[in-house]
Structures are given as structure tokens and as C-alpha cells.
Subunit: 669 residues, 2 copies
């Protein structure tokens, strides 16, 4: 076993400064556009948008909590708790009702998490003051026993913890912890962290293995990985135990969700349990099933506990689930969740292009999962997926201006079908402003703001470089430091320059990931370094002083096939260059993309192209356009006629930034 | 205007005897298997099947009607009428409740119609006695004012005619008329006909243009064409007026379905009105939309009234709607209804193979529509579609043993997807025994039993031959007759022998349809006949004595392309021979049909093949099987490797008679 395995950790955002052209721009979009927009949304100040009611609910809950404290008895009115969302038009309209989705509290938590990461890269006293005030409001809603979920505080506190399956209390807990830890790490302020810890304490009082407690677990996972993070920050084993309990309890029989809902018998609808990944104990799970976001959040938590507890059985389950996703259930773009029914995984190799779900949040979840697998096992295959998700399935979720968002990321779009075919209604041909159920935009905000912490990992004696994004990372030692400065124009250019400045006298290892698409790389500057290749990383060990490494990864254009079991891609190929997946758009290629054919033997070349404010590398090649045959719905077969034409591909993540039009990733050859 | 136009009529089943090998076998299946099974189903005697409750409901309604007549006041209990179906397990279980779908009465009507046609070809006193007893039961349920719908008689008679949109009273009326007319024509017995007429009279008392009546029309069309048929039999113009009123009222604003449901404003959900073809006045409709069966039933009725009233505007609407279907919205098999959502038409050229709905009943409805268009305009294009529907989309609905049925007729099936992908749950990879909602099997029964009347039409001086099915047709004149005997092995062999024996002294025209696929035919025996070609028919006029016509239609194998706007068929071709559409099945070609490729230049040859009890003509050719590439979900493009292999196609209608397996109509070339 490698020494690093037990000490490896993700780098602290404080120690890394992202300078990368592409990612820095995205981070600035989040800082300047998404975070303020999101704050306005939380406060119901976006014209023409469904109000969030998030901060409204915290204020109402705060008032109720104060009243309860004063009177010491609960005299507030009781409202039903069996609806997933309520809007003012649906009810008699007293001021002090809960509105919105029952998980609306998490909107704040996601926002504060994004704010925290952003403050680490862009200090901003005014934003910090706004955040502090918001935290005051949130903490004021906390019940004396630590409980902090406004849906139940407002509606009926006696019903709390009675519907873990659907009612998202533990989901809100998870997000609150994530936000609170991030804010503490960014600012050193612990008010929200204490509130989140107290909520976790309260949950631990009510749920757990002991008699008299509920033996339940979250319907929507995230508390698992959040509690691991809280444990790692605080060292308090109570949180480790609670999170691990959630992981271990899931899927045991009789099913907790049946007990909770007073079902006497198991339903024979397997999907009902699979949706929540509760169909089997997690260590027996080997196939990724059910709601894709929930799934990868769970697997991320499982990977955390595998690392923290050294549970190899749990690690093996993570490896099997990972393998099932990446070798059978993942779109080329990294998208996961092939069906909108249950926003779920479909069966192996069922990857329909037009009806894909491939939720932005699920791709983000895959990055969470990948990072955790990297901490368990430094195998570049995990970082390869992290990179694929980042430059494709994740960035596609946000417009180049940061003002509109995709939840669903299809691999082929015919706008007419999205409009007229109810089976494709979930697919939007243009990004949408914001959604009543605000998961993807804030999730994007928190991922992009913290992207620095995904670029590298570190241990006592090693720095792993996973992503070749421009940045400066400082690793402190008692007697000095090592500063790693990386310059690149990734993903457009394969040249990477790594400058290492060291003031320590002992050797340090820098491990460079060799991408699966870039094994034909060239490197200079290895003089004096001991070089070892292992699991896709090139480990370079030396005493670093002032050293330059120059690496050139081949940015050749690749035509990609899918496994022949992927029926939707049969006879078709896609274009990639480096980690970037390309697509064809109507804007460049005209209508009827299905009539286009690639020429396998043509010369494919890269060319800079402006898309909105973004300069990207496009791909061009000669190909064919099949002549239309529109003389009757069915007619005698005639050899298809083709005209030569220039085909243009643009990076998938930039699609739908030039109006509504057709798009496709896979093209006939 | 042609003289025949005003006098043309379908031939009477009494005058035609079907001897055709294929169709006679199907008729015998219906007689010997489907009709008895259906009778058992109506009486809830099928083990392991959801009971129909159809005859139960008539018995209960009969009891209530008798009680009401005795007491002259309504004292029976009242039950809710706002559910589409009720099963005994859902309610307190008194004996005398209504059970099943609210349109369950129509099960009887469809059965009696099939029985009637069957009796014309297969006299059977025992079956006739059973039918007479059933008619007794049904008629006993009729209210004094003629009303005859057990759902409302049993549940709450005061609510009748209050939900024409959903509650299928007028649908039941329509089927009752169809069954009653057929039974009268077959047996001369008028008991059921009188009951149906009285029900129609009752409806006319409550619905119509006069003040105080409801200005409504059926939610599910069929009464339109049924009333036209009742008018043609009885000559009573009341039925013509009522049916035409239904046609004319549909789609007027404000929408009757909104008035009825007390909606103050139109909903902006166009689909809501389109589902019922009520979005526009029918004469303004040019696009086939909504529920496909309802649509073609309506269009059939429109064609009837266009003919009966000489309304050219209505005729033009029919022509446009026909054209929209056959040139933009019909599968190669004749299947219509591309989406299971609303069992409806999708947008133009959206013809997905795996998720097709293509309901058997909708293909049957297309035959109804085609026959009526033929009476309006003797253009062979209508008979071409009738033939396509019959040998493909219709016959596929029933297994070769007549014991199991498809509602949905997809053009491609992967059994795993039907099982695991909820979006394909409506598609079954094997035919099912019977369905709770029994529309397709009885519809098949009534079509097949009456197929004789589709083979030809006649007028005073002309016989049109639309289908080349073996039969003997006798046309009586005062002074003698003409007997046309047709022999063929259609659709397997293109040779047709028509023997005409005449004892009349004046000329008669026999019009032979030249199929769109058979324009390269050869004919002998024309001596002495005046021959004129018009709209796809060859009109032969002479004084017939004892004449033989021999026609040879080319049964060459055709590769068929779709319009390039059909995205699901791009780069693919299908096989047809004569009117028969072929498909590939796993049983002959192994798994992974998507890996197979046709060779456009190969020699395609026909070969007899046994499928179950059926001897059919299969098609074979050399083609290719793409080698599997299963080394990673995504990998560098490699020129696809192919092995030569024999490809085997079987008639589409025979698919899924050899167990569960993959099937596809369209194959890559």
C-alpha cells in the first residue's frame, strides 16, 4: 500500500489561486452574475420568475422560533406536511406560511457555499456582510434543540422526521453542513458552522441505531458526504458515526421507507427502492440505478467512509458502481441519467441522444465522486472522468454569459420535437433563466467557485496534478515552501508549463496526470528527477529549486466510436479534441443535421472561432450532405446522393449560445 | 362527374363468399377462436383475466329498468359517475353495481357485430341462439325513453349526457348501432336494431341544434359513421341530421367540452382540444391530430356525410386530412399514432420506430376511412392504403393462432427496453392474451369477419375490385346475374385469375385496381373489352359471358426508402414484396439486429417459409454483420469491420409468433 494513500487530501482553496483563462472567466461569471442573481432569487426579487420564498421561510420560521421560546409552549397553527410544494395562490394567504418546495432551505445553503468559495478567490467585504446578515436570519430560525428545517418549523414541528423518504430534511441538513463548513473555512466565522453542527446533533438524537431512535436514512442523499466533511473539520466522531449509519442502514430489510410509510408488504415495484438506491445494502450494490444525482451523492459519501474507515468492502462497492457508470451508463459528454422518468439511470448501454436527461447536477455529482475515488486510489482514470465532466457535461449547464442554465443536457436536439413531442418536453433547446426548483444553477456556482480544489491533491510529500488549469499553488513546510505555477491554455492548447520554486531541502514528488487521450505526450525538464509511472500518473521526485517542466499533450482531433452495444451511436462517430467533446450546430451547418455524414478519411483541422464572448477552438472537415428525397413518404430505394460540404463542430459546452437550433454530437459516417 | 359516383356502394356480405387462403384462415380463427373467447370474456369466464363485467352490467341495468317500470319512480341508489373504471376491490361490494370501464357496453356491441358478419359466412344456429339471448339481456336494460347505457342506468340516470367529453355514452351508442345494423343485415332480426334506433331517438331528444337541447358531440367519435349507416339502412333522415350535427358542431367556439365542464376560459393547452379533434371546425381541419383512433373514426364519418350530403367542402377536408396522414404521419406498415401520450399523432415525419403507438384499432380505422374515400372518389390510392393496412398494421395485431393480440405495433423492438425503459412500457415484445380495455381484439374480429365487403364495391353498371383476395361475388340483375370468381394466392403470388360468368345481355364494367407497387403488370383476356385507365383502375367494359382474365402483378422484392425528413429511417431501408412489409427477427438473424447492414447490390430472393401454422414467403439476401467493438464504452474510431452473412426477412404481420426477440423493419444499408 502506498504511503500517500492515507494522507492524501484535497488542496485547501486558500493555497491555490486559479489563473486559468477559461476557468477564471467562469469563476468571475459566478461571482459577478450568478451569486448576485441567486441572492435576488432567494429574496423573491427576480421579476417574472417564480419566487423562491427561501429567505421568506427563514424569516417566518425565525418569528415562530422566537415566539415559542418566549411562551415555551407551541401554540402556532399547524399546516399539512404532505405536499411537496405550496404557492400562495393555492392557499388562504396568511403572511406566515411556508411557501415553495419543501427543500427550499437548501437554496440558501447552496448559495452560502458558493459565496464562501468565491470569497476565497475574490475577497469582497460587502458580499461577506450580506452573507453574515443572511446567516443571522437562518440561525434565528433554529429551534432550541438545534432543529433547523423551516418546512416543519412553520407547518408542524411534531411531524418532523416522519417522512425521511420524501421530505428532504436530511437533504437540507447536508447542504447546510456543506455551506457552513465552506463559510467557516473561507472566513473563520463559526456561527453557521455551530448552527449546522447543532442541527446534526439534533438529528443524531432522533436517528440512529439505539433503541427509541428512528432507524432511517435520507431519501435524497448528501448528508452522508456532508457529515464526513464535518467530521474531518471538527474531529467529532459523532458525525462520522451518524453519516456511516446512514450509509450502512440504506437498503436493509424491512425497508425503512416502508416502515415509515406503514406499508405492510414490500411492493414488487423494484424501481421504487432503486430510485433511492435503497434496494440493496450499499455494499451489495454493483449497478448504478435510480435517480442519478442521488446515486452519485451516495457513492461520494460511500467513498468518504471507505477512506475514513478503511472499509475495503465499501471501497470495492464504490469501484464496481464507478465501473458500471463509466463503462455502461455514461454519455460521451460525461452526462449520466438516460431517462427523465425518475431522472434516472436506464439499463446498460441505453443512451438515447434526444431524450437524455444527463442533468447538470449529476455531472457535478460525478466530479464529487471522482475526487473522492482519487483520494482512495490515485488512478488517473478518475481524473480523466473529472476532466470530461468539467469541460463537457458541467460547463454546458451554463450559458457563456452566466445568465441561463440547462438542467438537461441532451446529445441531440431538434427544437420542433422539444416543442411538439411530450416525450421530449424535459429537453429544452435553449437555456432557461432560472427554475422554481433551483438545483443546477447553485450547484454549478458552488462547483465552479471551488474548482481550484479539484486541480490538485496533496500529501506530506506529494502533489498530484489532476487538471492542467492555470494556477499557483503554495505548499507550506515548516522550513519553507514549494510554489507550483502552472500555465496552460487548456483545453485549447496542449502546452503546459509548470514552474516549481522550492525553498526546502528535501525531495518532493510531483505527480503529473497523463490523460487517457494524451499518452503520446512529450516532456522536458526532467533533469535530476526520479521518474516513475504509476496508474496514469508520472511521479517526479527531486529537490525542487527553480525548475521548469514543459509538457506537450497531443491536441489532435479524434474521431470517437461508441461500444457497438450503444444502439443510438451505431454507424456514427463523434469528434473530440483533448478533453473536449464537440457537436454540430445548425448555426454553422444549416438545418437537417441528420443528413450530414462525416468522411472518415477527410482531414480534420482545428480553427479558432468566436462564440459569443468566448474564443474557442472549432473543428472543421470536408464531409457530405445527403440530398433530400422528399418525393413521397415511402418510395423505391435509390442510392443516396451526397454533396461535398464543409462540416463544422464546436465545443459541446458552447452549444445553444447562438439562438435556437438543431444540435448533434453523434454523426453518421 | 362520373355516373358511378352517386350510386357506388360497398358490396353486401350476402353476395360475396371469401375463399382466399390467407383471409379465410383469419376469418376462421375469428369464428372458431376469437368470438367464443370474446363471449367468455364478456361473461367474466376467462381464468386469470380481468373480468369485463359487460354482461353483468346489462343484467344489473335490466333489473333496475324493470324495477323502475314497476314503481314508476326511481328509487335505486345513486353512485358517483366521475370515474373511468371501477373494480369490485375498490368499492363496497353490492351485487348490483356497475363494474369495469365506463364504455364496457361497447364490448357487447363489438362482439355482436363480429358475430353478425361471421354468420353471413359461417351460418351457425347455436351461435345465433347465443346472440339472440344476449340481445334479450341487452334490450331488457333499455329505459322506457330509449336510453341504453348501463353506466348511467346503474349509477345515476340523472347525470346522463353531462360528460360527453369523457364518458363515452355516444361511443356506446355508435357501436350499438354498428352491431345492430350488422345483425339485422345478417339475420333479418330487428330486435336489437329497434333498440339501437330508440337509443338514437333518445339521444336526438336531448342533443341537437334546438333550444333546450345540449349542443354537444361525442368525446370519442364513432356515432357519426354509425348514424350514417343507420340512415342508409332505414332511410330515416333524423339519423342523418343527428350524425351531421355531431360533425358540424365539433370544434365550434366556445368549445362545448369547456361549457360542459364549466370552464370559463379556454385553456391554452391546444392538445386538450386536439386530442378530440375539437380544436377547429372540421371543415377547417387539414392536419391529422390527437388520438389517432378517434381521428380516423371522425374522418370516416365526415367522408360518409360528404357523400350523403354532397358537401364538397367536407370532402376537401377529408382529402387534406387523408393526405396529411399518408404523406407525413403514417408508418410504412400503415400504422398511425406515433406517440403513446394520448395514443396520438405526433408532428409531421416524427415516426420513431421503437416507441411507436401504431394501434391496431387505428389501422382498422384507416381501412374504414379508406373505404369511405373510395365511395367518394374511385382513386386506387385509397385502396392501396387499405391493402397496406390489411396485410401489415392490421394482421400484425393478432397472433397466427388468433389467441393473443397487439394493441401497439412498433417497427423495432428490443425486448430489454420494453421491460426496463418506462418510456417503452406500452410496447410489448409478445402479443398479450386479452386486455381489460378490450378494443383491438374485438375490432379485429369485426373487421376480419366483414373483410368480404372491402374486396369490391359496386354500382349499377360497375364492379370495382380493390383487393385481389380469392372470392366469389354474385351481382344480381332482374334478368340474370354476373358471377365474378377470383382466384389468387395473394399476397404471396402475383397471379390473379378472374372468371366472369354472365347471363345478362348488356355490358358491365369491371374495374381492376392497379396497385401502386404493381403498375408493371401483365393481363390477358381483354378480347372484346373496352379498356380505359382512370385513377389507378383499369375499367373493362363488355358483355360478359364466360370470360377469363389473367393478371400477373410483379411480386418483385422492393427496397424502400423513407422521405429524408423521417429521421428515424435515415440511412436505412426496408423490404417490401407486393403489399407486404417485411421485418427482421432475432429468430432468424440472431441478436443485435442493429449490427446488421443490407447490401443494396445483393440479390434478394423470395423463399417459402413456415412460421407456426402459416406458410409465408420470406426474403433472403446476403448482407453484413458489423463486428462487435466492445472494448470500452468510447474508443478511437476504427473503420467498422463487417462479416458477410445471410439476412432473412419475414412478413411484418407474422412477427412475434416464435417467442420473444428483437425485431426491426428498417435496416442500415
Amino acid at each position: 500500500m502506498m504511503k500517500q494513500n492515507i494522507k492524501i487530501r484535497q488542496v485547501n482553496l486558500k493555497n491555490i489561486r486559479v489563473t486559468d483563462t477559461l476557468l477564471r472567466k467562469e469563476m468571475e461569471l459566478v461571482r459577478n452574475t450568478v451569486i448576485p442573481y441567486q441572492w435576488a432569487a432567494l429574496n423573491d426579487q427576480i421579476p417574472d420568475a417564480q419566487p423562491s420564498y427561501c429567505m421568506h421561510n427563514f424569516k417566518v420560521a425565525g418569528k415562530i422560533t422566537r415566539e415559542r421560546e418566549r411562551r415555551e409552549v407551541y401554540t402556532t397553527p399547524v399546516y399539512p406536511t404532505d405536499h411537496i410544494c405550496v404557492w400562495p395562490e393555492d392557499v388562504e394567504h396568511p403572511e406566515d406560511r411556508f411557501y415553495g418546495f419543501l427543500f427550499q432551505d437548501s437554496d440558501f445553503a447552496k448559495w452560502i457555499e458558493a459565496v464562501a468559495y468565491s470569497l476565497e478567490q475574490f475577497p469582497d467585504p460587502e458580499l461577506e456582510r450580506t452573507a453574515d446578515k443572511a446567516i443571522e436570519l437562518v440561525c434565528a430560525a433554529q429551534q432550541p434543540d438545534g432543529y433547523l428545517d423551516t418546512f416543519y418549523i412553520i407547518n408542524d414541528i411534531t411531524k418532523r422526521f416522519t417522512n425521511l423518504k420524501d421530505n428532504h430534511e436530511l437533504y437540507c441538513l447536508g447542504h447546510l453542513i456543506e455551506g457552513a463548513v465552506a463559510y467557516y473555512e473561507a472566513t473563520g466565522k463559526d456561527k453557521l458552522l455551530l448552527a449546522a453542527s447543532r442541527f446534526a446533533d439534533c438529528v443524531a438524537e432522533h436517528i440512529g441505531p439505539e433503541e427509541g431512535k428512528k432507524h432511517g436514512y435520507p431519501g435524497h442523499e448528501i448528508a452522508e458526504m456532508a457529515l464526513a466533511r464535518l467530521y474531518e473539520l471538527t474531529g467529532d466522531e459523532k458525525y462520522l458515526r451518524l453519516g456511516l449509519y446512514f450509509v450502512n442502514e440504506r437498503g436493509k430489510r424491512p425497508y425503512y421507507f416502508d416502515i415509515e410509510h406503514d406499508r405492510k408488504e414490500e411492493t414488487d415495484d423494484k424501481l421504487r427502492y432503486q430510485y433511492h438506491q435503497a434496494h440493496l445494502p450499499v455494499r451489495d450494490q454493483s449497478e448504478a440505478v435510480g435517480h442519478a444525482v442521488r446515486a452519485v451523492y451516495l457513492y461520494s459519501g460511500m467513498a468518504d467512509y471507505a477512506r475514513l474507515s478503511g472499509d475495503t468492502c465499501l471501497k470495492e462497492a464504490c469501484e464496481k458502481l464507478w465501473e458500471d457508470i463509466v463503462s455502461r451508463k455514461m454519455y460521451l459528454t460525461g452526462g449520466i441519467g438516460a431517462t427523465h422518468i425518475g431522472e434516472a439511470f436506464s439499463f446498460a448501454y441505453d443512451l438515447p441522444n434526444q431524450t437524455a436527461y444527463a442533468e447538470t447536477c449529476a455531472s457535478i455529482g460525478m466530479i464529487f465522486f471522482a475526487r473522492r475515488m482519487l483520494l482512495l486510489d490515485q488512478d488517473a482514470k478518475y481524473a480523466d472522468i473529472m476532466e470530461r465532466e468539467l469541460y463537457n457535461g458541467v460547463l454546458s449547464g451554463m450559458s457563456l454569459e452566466g445568465t441561463s442554465f440547462f438542467y438537461v443536457n441532451p446529445l441531440e436536439v431538434l427544437p420542433e420535437a422539444c416543442e411538439k413531442d411530450e416525450r421530449k418536453r424535459h429537453v429544452k433547446p435553449v437555456r432557461q433563466k432560472w427554475f422554481g426548483c433551483a438545483c443546477c444553477p447553485p450547484n454549478l456556482a458552488r462547483l465552479i467557485s471551488s474548482i481550484g480544489s479539484y486541480i490538485m491533491s496533496e500529501s506530506e510529500d506529494t502533489i498530484w496534478i489532476h487538471l492542467y488549469a492555470g494556477c499557483t499553488f503554495t505548499k507550506e513546510f515548516g522550513e519553507g515552501n514549494v510554489i507550483v505555477t502552472m500555465e496552460s491554455r487548456f483545453p485549447w492548447d496542449g502546452h503546459v508549463r509548470i514552474q516549481v520554486e522550492g525553498t526546502i531541502d528535501h525531495p518532493l514528488t510531483i505527480a503529473l496526470r497523463i490523460p487517457d487521450w494524451g499518452t503520446d505526450y512529450q516532456i522536458t525538464g526532467l533533469e535530476g528527477a526520479e521518474a516513475v509511472k504509476r496508474k496514469g500518473y508520472l511521479y517526479l521526485t527531486k529537490v525542487w529549486r527553480s525548475d521548469s517542466l514543459e509538457i506537450v499533450f497531443p491536441m489532435s482531433i479524434r474521431l470517437i466510436d461508441a461500444d457497438t452495444r450503444v444502439r443510438e451511436a451505431i454507424g456514427k462517430a463523434a469528434v473530440m479534441r483533448g478533453p473536449v467533446v464537440y457537436c454540430m450546430e445548425e448555426a454553422d451547418n444549416g438545418r437537417d443535421l441528420h443528413l450530414l455524414r462525416m468522411d472518415e478519411h477527410a482531414k480534420y483541422y482545428a480553427e479558432e472561432k468566436q462564440i459569443g464572448s468566448e474564443t474557442v477552438v472549432a473543428v472543421k472537415a470536408e464531409g457530405f450532405r445527403q440530398e433530400k428525397a422528399e418525393d413521397g413518404l415511402y418510395h423505391l430505394h435509390m442510392p443516396a446522393q451526397y454533396k461535398r460540404t464543409e462540416l463544422v463542430w464546436v465545443p459541446y459546452y458552447t452549444w445553444a449560445n447562438r439562438g435556437e437550433g438543431e444540435m448533434q454530437v453523434w454523426t453518421r459516417y
